[in-house]
């Protein structure tokens, strides 16, 4: 049912945890299913130099949280903004139709974190 990539992220999450004194932190809940994703990140020289995720949710949400940190790491906030759902889905080897919301949750949370950087100027 889940791709090998999803299961790999699920069993071996990348960048799990929470950063102290982050430059941006965002937590978003998917109201439909109750999944919660939290991202914290730090910038250095205009790039996302550190990023961590925490999640309470289904396997797909965990995999997307893990994968989105890999995709965002090393990017400038502007580059990270352009991350598309297709790229995230490709990174996890696709999701079952019922689990597509997990990719949206990951991107919404990343956006919310990037919004904070913008607000701070």
């Amino acid at each position: 049912m889940y791709s090998p990539q999803v299961l790999d992220h699920f069993e071996h999450p990348r960048n799990a945890g929470v950063l102290e004194n982050p430059d941006a932190a965002a937590q978003v809940e998917n109201p439909a299913c109750g999944d919660v994703l939290k991202l914290t990140l730090k910038l250095s020289f205009g790039q996302i130099s550190e990023i961590r995720f925490q999640v309470k949710g289904c396997v797909a949400s965990m995999a997307c949280g893990s994968a989105v940190t890999e995709l965002a790491l090393g990017k400038s906030p502007a580059q990270a903004r352009t991350l598309r759902k297709e790229a995230l889905l490709a990174a996890v080897g696709g999701l079952p139709p019922a689990s597509q919301h997990a990719a949206q949750l990951a991107l919404d949370t990343l956006d919310a974190a990037l919004d904070q950087l913008h607000l701070r100027g």
Binding site: M1, A32, Q54, V55, V59, M62, P96, A98
Partner: protein
């Protein structure tokens, strides 16, 4: 890797004796039980023998056993076969979808339906059934054992209420078969459905007990099979398998198997409850021996099911037909759990053949899997916000 199958309430494997009993009826003894030649006679004899076994299993007459395609058909037949527009049906909020969806269909067609909610421990209070009775109440339909929690309903008391008030009584006994002794007279029901695949028999076959004289309209019409109660060429291998499974189920009720399963289930439950923030749903009520439904606070049940599967333990969250959907269990919600608690709950249901090694395996992998999921959760780690 040793795999521990803890999802018997979803389905069970054939016991070897069942497989052996069925084997001749696919190729050698393939006859149609309605044919009068030799092949047909052999099939008929086999179906008759299975009917004898089921009559003993239900504790009824052979003429009161109707073979069908399983629990869903039995439940549908009971409801659609008795309740007409304008009639009132009493059922419960924790039934299997085979009853719930049929009840909703009846509502759409002009029947009235009351869905009695359970108490917090998962029990349906017989007094609530009595209070729900109206002058036009035609049928009460209640499950014997709940598929998610294993909670056993006080069907005998409900049967007395039905008899006193002149209302028909159907029991969905699918999850009770092979776990508690049946006696349809003592239960006080006119109808009772079972399914072979929940009791180490084959899938797609079951039986409905229909008390003599019950004005049940058949769901499936056509030929005159099953005393015109259920048309269609008999599934001879399936019926033979059900018959053998029923014989073995009766034996296991008397040979200490149930006590052994209770011991395994209780050890599993106690071991898991050592983890913090866990609890048993329906733990305060009488339950079948093989089932426990455990809440792991701050964990998403679906993620835990997959984590355990990767470690060789098969369990399910909620009921099997709900996995993959985002709906929390209607049974646990009806018992008063909130969405998060319902979604944090898993069902462990043991096969009759479960071993100490199976329980050891579960206990060796559950703590690590739960800790892994909690460690990564912003809610459990207390860093939310």
């Amino acid at each position: 890797m040793h795999r521990a199958y803890m999802d018997a309430n979803a389905t069970t494997p054939l016991l070897p004796e069942v497989m052996e009993a069925m084997r001749p009826f696919w190729m050698e003894d393939f006859g149609n039980a309605s044919s009068i030649h030799r092949q047909g006679q052999r099939a008929r004899t086999a179906v008759d023998r299975a009917r004898e076994a089921l009559a003993e299993f239900f504790y009824c007459r052979e003429s009161e056993v109707v073979f069908n395609s399983g629990g869903t058909e039995g439940d549908n037949t009971a409801l659609f076969g008795l309740v007409r527009p304008g009639d009132h049906l009493i059922t419960t909020a924790i039934e299997h979808s085979a009853v719930l969806r049929a009840a909703e269909r009846l509502e759409e067609h002009g029947a009235e339906v009351t869905f009695v909610p359970p108490l917090a421990n998962g029990l349906i209070d017989p007094a609530a059934i009595r209070e729900a009775i109206r002058p036009n109440t035609r049928l009460i339909s209640v499950m014997l054992a709940n598929n998610e929690t294993g909670v056993l309903q006080p069907v005998e008391e409900m049967g007395k209420i039905a008899a006193e008030t002149g209302v028909f009584f159907h029991i969905d006994a699918v999850q009770g078969a092979g776990k508690v002794a049946f006696d349809v007279r003592r239960f006080g029901c006119q109808l009772l459905s079972i399914s072979a695949h929940k009791m180490h028999g084959p899938k797609g076959v079951g039986a409905l007990y229909v008390r003599r004289g019950t004005p049940l309209e058949p769901l499936v019409v056509g030929g005159s099979h099953e005393r015109r109660q259920r048309a269609g060429t008999e599934n001879v291998p399936g019926i033979v398998g059900l018959g053998r499974a029923a014989e073995l189920a009766m034996a296991c009720l008397e040979d200490g198997t149930i006590a052994r399963m209770t011991g395994l289930r209780d050890r599993l439950e106690k071991g898991i409850l050592k983890l913090s923030d866990t609890g048993v749903n329906g733990g305060g009520a009488p339950r079948v021996a093989n089932t426990t439904n455990i809440r792991f606070e701050q964990v998403e049940g679906e993620a835990l099911v997959i984590a355990l599967d990767l470690k060789g333990v098969a369990v399910s969250g909620g009921s099997a037909c709900h996995s993959g959907s985002t709906e929390p269990s209607h049974v646990l919600m009806a018992m008063g759990l909130d969405k998060n608690a319902a979604r944090a709950s898993l069902r462990f249901s043991l096969l009759r053949t479960a071993t100490e090694a199976d329980v050891d395996q579960v206990l060796s992998v559950v703590p690590e899997a739960v800790e892994h999921l909690r460690a990564i959760s912003p809610v459990a780690a207390g860093t939310a916000g």
